[in-house]
Symmetry: C2
Subunit: 182 residues, 2 copies
């Protein structure tokens, strides 16, 4: 399972203690484009990681806002994470609603599909703009960045390519629907 690994990775990646709330924000911001989840799952997972000795927690009292519990990765957690990195990855299969819809696209007027593809394309273009902006602001001088930053740039590049793939796919599908169908 990779959520636990994502949590450990974020704890190391950010280089400081984070609360469940911090982690949730991280996972759902533009930065955390590589993993999506809910805060409930994160809290549940953190409790388990603590039970397994992968992280330790500490309550921090706050005056201006509710108290929080911040987490640190342990040596056990770090060893576990490094071991996981070296395991071979298997390709993630596609599970895309739009593909299922397309498979039975003949059941509805093609305009419906075109409209949906256009909507999907818009959403991906918005995301792409965000990533590109992020690239411009934080990664204009990658060559001179510390290693950590370079790895983060690699990830951002993937996010950009991922969006480009989806945009191209939507365009190809729309064009195909317009030209090949009457």
């Amino acid at each position: 399972m990779a959520l636990s690994h994502s949590i450990l990775a974020t704890l190391i990646g950010r280089g400081k203690s984070l609360s469940g709330y911090d982690l949730a924000k991280e996972f759902n911001s533009s930065v955390g484009f590589y993993w999506k989840t809910t805060h409930q799952q994160i809290y549940r997972e953190l409790a388990r990681l603590e039970k397994e000795g992968m992280v330790t927690s500490e309550v921090v009292k706050q005056k201006d806002r509710p108290d929080k519990k911040i987490y640190n990765i342990t040596d056990t957690g770090k060893v576990h994470l490094i071991g996981w990195i070296a395991e071979p990855s298997i390709p993630t299969p596609i599970k895309e609603d739009m593909l299922v819809k397309m498979y039975v696209g003949f059941l509805v007027p093609k305009d419906i599909l075109i409209k949906e593809l256009q909507q999907l394309k818009d959403l991906h273009e918005e995301k792409l703009r965000l990533f590109r902006e992020y690239e411009k602001i934080y990664f204009s001088d990658v060559k001179n960045m510390p290693v950590k930053g370079k790895y983060r740039y690699l990830n951002l590049r993937t996010g950009i390519n991922f969006e480009l793939f989806h945009i191209r796919w939507c365009e190809e599908a729309i064009e195909f629907l317009n030209n090949e169908f009457e």
Copy 2:
């Protein structure tokens, strides 16, 4: 949820009754690249779909092999599926192990990452070859195909683009690791 929709779609798409076993094969063959699952989940989902009146089943006695239960989509099922198609799709977020690994790539020697990326690339290239072969055999004359076939071709194209995206990503990452890191 889209597994139930995938099952209904496959039942319509194939235009004939299928058993749970047939469906499982379909979902895990090169054709069913748009959705992956296990036979257990399919059997469970079929039972539920039947309870909800989306499909009907019928036991077929066989002499040469174990008896089977074949499923048909009902009008209710078809209406439900068409309704679902018209609902707007939301982009599928990335959940890719390799991205998490890359995020903390600085924890291991870069050779480990390069090796993994190479392995991943090989797997995607194999899949791409399969899809391209499939394209050549079944879709050489798309313009003159029935509508159903055209939609299936659209899906195959997406599969091809998906593999190309992953291959390009792996290449970019390997190159980056080789050039930008010392």
